[in-house]
C-alpha cells in the first residue's frame, strides 16, 4: 500500500479546544450508555397531545389564582434578590479576604431548593424560608460577580485623585460610579433568575407559581397551567418596562405587604434544636447521653458514614455525574443549533425576532419545571431530565453565542448557509462558546442534583428522602457532599478554561 502523501494527523494537528471537546463528547457517550433512558408511561403521545392542546387553548378564567400566584412569586423574588444584592454588594467590598470568598464559594454551591428544604424544617412554610433560600445563595453569587466587576474597572481616575483623599470618598467618586451601570444590569439579570427560582420554590409548598402548576398538572388542567405559564413569560419578557429604579421602593413595600400575612411567629426552640441536635450525626448524639464510650461512638460514627456513603451517596454521585456530563454536551450541541436563529448572518429582522421569542421562552422556563412536565409525560427515567437541562441551558448558551456572533464582521458575504456556519462563524465563536459552556458546568451539576427531588436517583433524591424520614443529619451530610463536588467542578472548569486560554467578560451566564 502506498504511503499517503500528507498524513492526515500532520495536516490536522489537534488543537487544545478540539482535544477537550472530543474528550467531553466521548465521556458523554460513555455516560449515556450507562444512563437509564426510557419512556415508561403507557400513552406518552396521547398525554403530550393533550398538553399541546392545553398550551394553545390557555384558560384565563381562574384570574384570581393567576394574579395571586404571580404576585407571590414576585414578592419572594423581590425580597430575596434585594437582600442578596445588598449583602452581595457589601461582601464584594471585602471579597479579597480568603475567608469571605471561601464562605461565598460554599454558600453558592448549595442549590436554592436545598436551602429551602433546610429552612423548611424549622421555619415551616414561613415566608422567611423562601426569602432566605433565595437571599443566601444570591448574596454569594452577587458578591463574586460584583467583585469581578470592580476588579475590571479602570484605576486611572483613582490614581489621578489628589494625594490624601479618603478611601471612602475615592470609592464613591471614582470606582462606584464607573461600575454602577454594569452592576445595575447584572442585578436586573439576577432578578430574572430570582423569579425563576421563586417559581420553583412552589414545588416544595410555598405559594408561588410552581405550587399552582403542580396542582393544575396533577388534575390534568393543562389549559389552566398554560395560562399560568404564559403570564409568567409575559412578566419576564416585559421586565425592562416595569422594572424602574424609581419604583423599586414601591415594589419592596408591596412585597413585604404580600408576604406578611403568612409570617407567623417563629419557634426559636425548633431552630435551636435543628442546629444543636438534629443535624448532629446520629451516632455522635449518643455521646451526650453517656450511654456509650468514646471509642464505640467513633466506631458507630464511621459505620454510619460508611453505610450512608455506600448505600446512598455513592449511587447518587454516580447518577448525578452521568446526567451532568450527558446534559452538558447535549446543551452545547443544542446551543450550536439554536444560535443561528438570532444571528444576523443567518436571519433577517423578522426571523431574529421570532428566534429571540423562542429562546426567551426556553430560557425563562426553569429546568426543574421542564423536567417536571416531561416526567409527567414520559415517566421516571433520565430522559426527561436530560431534555429539560438541554433545552434550558442550550437556550441560554445559544442566546449568549448569538449575541457574540452578531458582533462578528465578515470580510465577504459570498458564502452562505451551512458553509458560512461551519467555515466562518463557528470557528470564530467556538472558544467563546466553550467558555460559556464551562461556566455553566457547575450550574448544570447543581441543577442535576436537585432534579432528584422529582424522583430520579440523583443526589437530590437521597436528600429529599432523608428530610422526609426526618433524618436531618443524613440530609445535611448529603448536601455537604453535593456542595463539595460542586466546588470541585467549579475549580476543574476554571483549570480547563485556563488550559484553553479562554477569557470571558464577567457575568456570562453566572
Amino acid at each position: 500500500m502506498a504511503e499517503p502523501i500528507v498524513s492526515l494527523t500532520a495536516l490536522y494537528p489537534r488543537s487544545r479546544t478540539v482535544k477537550i471537546s472530543l474528550l467531553f463528547i466521548v465521556v458523554a457517550v460513555v455516560c449515556a450508555f450507562f444512563s437509564d433512558v426510557e419512556i415508561t408511561t403507557l400513552y406518552p403521545w396521547q398525554e403530550m397531545s393533550r398538553l399541546a392542546h392545553g398550551l394553545i387553548t390557555p384558560d384565563f378564567s381562574d384570574f384570581r389564582v393567576i394574579v395571586n400566584a404571580l404576585m407571590q412569586t414576585i414578592a419572594f423574588a423581590f425580597l430575596g434578590v434585594s437582600l442578596g444584592a445588598v449583602f452581595g454588594f457589601l461582601l464584594s467590598l471585602v471579597f479579597d479576604y480568603r475567608l469571605v470568598h471561601m464562605t461565598c464559594a460554599i454558600l453558592r454551591s448549595v442549590h436554592e431548593l436545598f436551602w429551602a428544604l433546610i429552612f423548611l424544617q424549622f421555619f415551616g412554610l414561613h415566608p422567611l424560608t423562601g426569602v432566605l433560600a433565595i437571599a443566601i445563595p444570591f448574596s454569594a453569587i452577587c458578591a463574586k460577580v460584583y467583585a469581578e466587576i470592580f476588579e475590571e474597572a479602570d484605576t486611572a481616575p483613582y490614581n489621578a485623585l489628589p494625594g490624601g483623599s479618603r478611601r471612602v470618598v475615592s470609592f464613591f467618586y471614582t470606582r462606584l460610579p464607573m461600575v454602577w451601570q454594569h452592576i445595575k444590569t447584572y442585578t436586573s439579570y439576577r432578578l430574572e433568575c430570582g423569579l425563576r427560582t421563586s417559581a420553583v420554590l412552589g414545588f416544595i409548598g410555598l405559594p408561588t407559581l410552581g405550587f399552582y402548576l403542580e396542582v393544575f398538572f396533577k388534575q390534568g388542567l393543562y389549559s389552566q397551567a398554560a395560562a399560568l405559564l404564559l403570564t409568567f413569560y409575559l412578566l419576564i419578557a416585559t421586565m425592562r418596562w416595569w422594572l424602574r429604579p424609581q419604583l423599586l421602593l414601591v415594589y419592596l413595600i408591596l412585597s413585604i405587604y404580600m408576604l406578611l400575612p403568612a409570617a407567623v411567629d417563629i419557634d426559636m426552640a425548633n431552630v435551636k434544636r435543628f442546629f444543636t441536635e438534629d443535624i448532629v450525626p446520629y451516632p455522635l448524639r449518643a455521646l451526650d447521653d453517656g450511654t456509650t464510650t468514646v471509642f464505640a461512638t467513633i466506631q458507630n460514627f464511621f459505620h454510619w458514614f460508611y453505610e450512608l456513603f455506600w448505600l446512598q451517596a455513592f449511587d447518587g454521585i454516580v447518577q448525578t455525574l452521568l446526567l451532568t456530563q450527558v446534559s452538558l454536551v447535549l446543551s452545547g450541541m443544542l446551543a450550536l443549533i439554536l444560535f443561528p436563529l438570532i444571528t444576523r448572518h443567518f436571519q433577517g429582522t423578522i426571523g431574529r425576532g421570532l428566534g429571540h421569542g423562542f429562546l426567551v421562552i426556553l430560557r425563562s422556563t426553569p429546568e426543574y419545571l421542564l423536567a417536571y412536565i416531561f416526567l409527567q409525560l414520559w415517566g421516571p427515567s433520565m430522559l426527561p431530565a436530560m431534555i429539560a437541562l438541554m433545552l434550558h441551558n442550550g437556550a441560554i448558551i445559544g442566546h449568549l453565542c448569538g449575541r457574540y456572533a452578531n458582533e462578528i464582521v465578515l470580510p465577504n458575504n459570498s458564502i452562505k448557509g451551512v458553509n458560512l456556519f461551519a467555515w466562518e462563524i463557528v470557528p470564530r465563536i467556538y472558544p467563546q462558546f466553550l467558555a460559556f459552556l464551562f461556566y455553566r458546568w457547575e450550574i448544570i451539576f447543581r441543577e442535576t442534583a436537585i432534579l432528584g427531588m422529582l424522583g430520579l436517583y440523583t443526589l437530590g433524591f437521597y436528600v429529599d428522602s432523608a428530610f422526609e424520614e426526618i433524618r436531618y443529619d443524613r440530609a445535611i451530610l448529603l448536601i455537604a457532599i453535593t456542595a463539595i463536588i460542586n466546588i470541585g467542578i467549579d475549580s476543574l472548569s476554571r483549570r480547563i478554561r485556563q488550559y484553553l486560554r479562554l477569557t470571558t467578560t464577567v457575568q456570562c451566564g453566572q
Binding site: L161, P162, R166, T174, M178
Partner: protein, 219 residues
C-alpha cells in the same frame, strides 16, 4: 515647604520592563520643564515616577485623561479637592452639589470653554472637551506642581496656546511631557530630552533650538 524631585541612578520600568536606566535627575521648585522624546521613549514612565515621589505636591493631567465618565463635569473637576474637605461634605457634593462650589467651578472652567457643559456627563464629551476637564481638575486642585502627560494633545493650536499659558501662570512648578516641540520651547525654561532609555539633553530652553532637538525623533 521646600521640595524637589530627585532621581539617583534610578531604573524605571513600565509593565515590569526597564524603560529608563541609570537616570540622574533633580528638579526643584520654580522650574518649568518640558520632557521631549518620541512616542514610547519613556516620557510617561518618567512622569509617573516623579508623581509617585511627591504625590502630595502634584496635580496630575494623565495622558488617558482618567475621568469618571458616568459623572458630570462638575463632579470630575470637584474631585481635584477631595483631600481638602471632610467625607460628609464630599459625599454631600456628590449627591447635592453646593452652590458655592458650583460658582467656583463655573468660574474656573469658563476660560477653558466648558461653562455650558457643567452638568454634562463626561462620557458624552468629545476628546478635546474631556482633556479640558482633566486640565480643569488639575487646576482646581491648586497644588504647587503641575504634572501633565501631553495635556494639550487633543486641542487646536490657539486653544492649546491659551491653556498652556493658564497652566504655566497658575503653577509655580510645571513638568509636562510634550509632543509639540515648538510649544515646549515657547513655555518651558528647561528642556529634557529622552532617547534610547536615557536622558540625552538637559538644558535651559534658551540655549536649544528647534533644529537641535530634531535628532530625538530620528531612529
Amino acid at each position: 515647604m521646600p521640595f524637589s524631585f530627585e532621581l539617583k541612578s534610578a531604573n524605571l520600568c513600565y509593565k515590569n520592563v526597564d524603560v529608563l536606566t541609570n537616570i540622574n535627575l533633580s528638579i526643584g521648585a520654580g522650574e518649568h520643564v518640558a520632557l521631549l522624546g518620541k512616542s514610547g521613549a519613556g516620557k510617561s514612565t518618567l512622569l509617573h515616577a516623579l508623581y509617585q515621589q511627591q504625590r502630595s505636591y502634584c496635580a496630575l493631567v494623565p495622558q488617558n485623561v482618567a475621568l469618571v465618565e458616568a459623572l458630570n463635569v462638575f463632579h470630575n473637576v470637584f474631585m481635584g479637592r477631595l483631600n481638602q474637605y471632610n467625607t460628609f461634605y464630599n459625599l454631600l457634593n456628590l449627591f447635592w452639589p453646593q452652590q458655592d462650589k458650583l460658582n467656583d467651578i463655573q468660574q474656573l472652567v469658563r476660560p477653558l470653554g466648558l461653562h455650558d457643559l457643567l452638568f454634562s456627563r463626561t462620557g458624552e464629551l468629545s476628546g478635546g472637551q474631556k482633556q479640558r476637564v482633566a486640565i480643569a481638575r488639575a487646576l482646581y486642585q491648586n497644588n504647587q506642581v503641575l504634572l501633565g502627560d501631553e495635556p494639550i494633545s487633543a486641542l487646536d493650536t490657539t486653544q492649546a496656546r491659551h491653556i498652556m499659558k493658564i497652566l504655566h501662570d497658575q503653577h509655580d512648578t510645571v513638568i509636562l511631557a510634550m509632543h509639540d516641540v515648538e510649544m515646549a520651547l515657547c513655555f518651558a525654561n528647561r528642556i529634557i530630552g529622552i532617547k534610547n532609555g536615557s536622558i540625552v539633553i538637559d538644558q535651559p530652553a534658551t540655549s536649544v533650538s528647534l533644529a537641535d532637538l530634531q535628532f530625538l525623533y530620528e531612529s
